[in-house]
């Protein structure tokens, strides 16, 4: 499903080049649940940004379903992201001025979908936060917010879910709950890539990729 070939990415910091990804090659099959483990600054987030079409590699090739995504222009890249990718971030990235229900509806509205009420309510039910549908995110606990964020990612019917430190802001009990949800989604066939520095989180995944200084160790 995913093939990265010799991906390099540099950032300019204070007129100094920082190498985020250094000739990284990786393959991920459909249905895998991959944990990208590494310390802060090792390039995990950059990898996820490239996988999600948020960023472009400086060199190397990124194939998704045998199509070279790294050569896509902006609009095509946007459409690729819209069609295939779901994002879950550590900070939940929920919109505070919208209710949980409305947050879930945003990706569907962006795709011009209508009659989505049942779909959202079913998802909220599945995630165990249906009773908070009309509440604003800041009224919910961290775990509930992350469930909402996962639900929102699921709304897009994405094939690849990218989770950047999804449990970074949560306690251990909630972390287990969230990982349970992600594992469940993986069992339903969703490909998931989780960037984390928490080995406990990584242990829930079917495959472990260790990174250091922009390279894959194992």
């Amino acid at each position: 499903m995913i093939k990265l070939e010799n991906i390099t990415k540099k950032y300019m910091d204070d007129s100094k080049d920082t190498i985020a990804l250094d000739g990284l090659s990786l393959e991920i099959a459909e249905g895998e649940m991959v944990a990208v483990l590494g310390t802060s600054g090792c390039g995990k987030s950059t990898l996820l940004n490239i996988l999600g079409g948020m960023d472009r590699p400086d060199s190397g090739k990124y194939f998704f379903d045998n199509e070279e995504v790294s050569s896509y222009r902006a609009i095509r890249l946007h459409n690729f992201r819209k069609k295939n990718i779901g994002f879950v971030y550590q900070n939940f990235s929920l919109l505070n001025r919208y209710t949980v229900y409305e947050n879930m509806a945003i990706p569907l509205l962006a795709r011009n979908q209508k009659n989505y009420r049942k779909k959202i309510m079913d998802c909220l039910e599945q995630l165990g936060i249906a009773e908070y549908a009309n509440k604003f995110p800041q009224k919910l606990s961290g775990g509930q917010q992350q469930r909402c964020a996962i639900g929102r990612a699921l709304m897009t019917d994405c094939r690849l879910m990218l989770c950047d430190e999804p449990t970074g802001a949560l306690d251990s009990k909630t972390t287990i709950e969230i990982m349970g949800i992600l594992c469940e989604e993986n069992k339903h066939g969703k490909t998931i890539v989780i960037a984390t520095h928490d080995s406990d989180v990584a242990s829930n995944c079917t495959r472990l990729v260790k990174m250091s200084d922009g390279r894959i160790l194992i």
Binding site: S45, M54, D55, S93, L95, R97, Y98
Partner: protein
């Protein structure tokens, strides 16, 4: 929708502040335009005409009638007049004002000095002539540059010790006229007379138009019979001051709104990034941002219109002049909406190039 835009209950006041700023922008803009309309109303040609002749109390109807009578009876192609005046002061003299106001009435607009100079219908020579006049055959004459003119009338000017003279004119060939005028000017300059000769040409006979002017003059007199001119001048001064204050405040508002727009968009940047991450395209994002800002603007404009209408009702005791109100509101709308679109455009277009990486979202928080 309002709740979403204004973030009620979420302790974020940028939309509210933007609303207040926009309201002030519109309201002050309306008042700015309104004060200009008021000043324009005060300066209607009919009023200026009245103001020029009667408001200072020097000139009265009898004097005016007498002047008209003299001019009508002159039988001249044009009028040469003499004052102790300079070019710059010429339009302060009532004879010139007669022309100015009459022309203004005819054109239904105020004339300034340059426009007066452009009127191809008069000849005026300014200078003190009296000591050079002489009597012959019971009429008063003067010789200028070897040409004898009949002095038609002498009237007292409002300039102390100065006197004015009207003279017949009509015995010069067309091609000689210009040369004569300049020759005349030189003579006056070197003769020790006070004032600079001024020459205005008048191709049609002035007295042909006198009856028409007189009718208009009568109308003005009736219209402004009970007018308190000093109040009128005070009002004009007040409106002009108001206009200056409004202008400064309007300018201040523009800066404040620009800053508030920055805050407004900065506050929403995170939302736009997240929306982008969730699949919104740039166009939809711009439309969302524009819609929210236009909603705030629309509300501010509506509120300003209501407040302005209340103010107008209060000021003119319900006698709303529809045209004035429309001018005020539509004028303000066009100017401020134009400005707003420019400002919004500047901010909204920045949304096209935002990338919803986690780092960017966190940075926007």
């Amino acid at each position: 929708m309002l709740k979403r835009v204004f973030l009620f209950g979420q302790k974020e006041y940028d939309s509210l502040l933007l609303f207040v700023g926009m309201f002030l922008l519109f309201y002050l803009g309306m008042n700015l335009i309104r004060s200009q309309i008021l000043i324009n109303n005060l300066n209607k040609p009919e009023y200026l005409y009245h103001k020029e002749f009667f408001a200072d109390g020097i000139w009265n109807k009898d004097m005016f009638d007498e002047t008209f009578k003299m001019l009508k009876g002159s039988g001249a192609n044009c009028v040469i007049r003499g004052f102790m005046v300079s070019v710059g002061l010429t339009n302060e003299h009532r004879e010139v004002r007669t022309y100015l106001s009459a022309e203004a009435l005819a054109k239904k607009e105020k004339l300034d000095y340059d426009e007066w100079m452009g009127i191809p219908n008069s000849v005026l020579i300014a200078g003190r002539l009296l000591n050079r006049t002489y009597l012959r055959e019971g009429k008063k004459w003067i010789i200028i540059d070897g040409i004898e003119f009949q002095v038609y009338a002498v009237i007292e000017s409002d300039v102390i010790l100065a006197q004015s003279v009207y003279m017949n004119w009509g015995n010069l060939e067309e091609d000689y006229k210009e040369w004569f005028m300049w020759r005349l000017a030189d003579e006056y300059d070197t003769s020790g007379w006070n004032g600079i000769p001024l020459i205005f040409e008048k191709l049609t006979k002035f007295h042909d138009e006198i009856n028409n002017f007189q009718d208009q003059f009568e109308d003005c007199l009736t219209t402004y019979e009970n007018y308190d001119d000093y109040e009128q001048w005070d009002r004009q001064e007040l409106y002009e001051k108001m206009q200056k204050i409004y202008s400064v405040m309007e300018l201040f508002c523009i800066f404040v709104i620009f800053y508030l727009m920055e805050v407004w968009f900065a506050r929403r940047k995170r939302e736009y990034l997240i929306r982008r991450m969730l699949g919104c395209n740039a166009l939809r994002l711009c439309i969302t941002a524009f819609r929210d800002a236009v909603l705030v603007t629309g509300l501010a404009f509506s509120t300003a219109v209501i407040v302005m209408l209340l103010q107008l009702c209060f000021h003119i005791a319900g006698k709303l002049e529809v045209l004035e109100v429309l001018q005020t509101i539509v004028g303000s709308f066009i100017i401020t909406i134009g400005f707003e679109i420019l400002m919004l455009g500047f901010h909204v277009l920045r949304l096209i190039n935002i990338y919803p990486t986690q780092a960017n979202i966190e940075a926007a928080e």
